[in-house]
Amino acid sequence: MARFISGAALREGRIAIDLPEMVENGNAVPVTMQVDSPMSDRDHVTALALFSSRNPSPEVAEFRLGPRNGRARVATRMRLATSQQVVALARMSDGSVWTHRVDVLVTLAACVES
């Protein structure tokens, strides 16, 4: 996470995370991140990263974007080992880094044990 932030002042906002509040099965949880950005040549998201607070390792994925994408919206499916916070970070073309986090309750964890 520190590598992604790389010294920038972290600001809250501009990111929406769409993730179920309660998950029965942590093996494949749909997650969508959307950043409020015009995605123009002058003002766009350059990178968008997803982290988890209590998985075996925090990194989930990092996406590289640019003005060609037109919309700063990325979706995937992630594993959740237990109830925890999911954190999104977005780096903008002006160098600013934005963050947003959501809590998720997991009733059946991703099978990391067997």
Partner: protein
Amino acid sequence: MSTPAADTPRAVRAIVTVPAARAGEVIEIRALIAHPMETGHRADGAGGVVPRDILRRFTCRLDGEVVFAAELHPAIAANPLIVFHLRAQAPGTLSLRWEGDRGFAHTETAPLRVA
């Protein structure tokens, strides 16, 4: 739809969805590939762990130029789905490539149709 151009010996199944676009329209591209995304954290039942076998990198190029890329970790679910957007300006060819552990590499190509 997409055409496989497999460069990994084992058969790989991938599905890429690219809707037809009007010029300037932002379209949603969906890329799904069959892969276990073995985390490297699971016990193998004999006192060890099942070795990690994941996809590490996904790259989408339009006529050779990178337009979207992703770095993936074991927390991405099996059979990774990646959904992203692209502003369709002119017709072209999309090339989507997945690379991972054990020398895994797979490329699909799909036409970008712009009316």
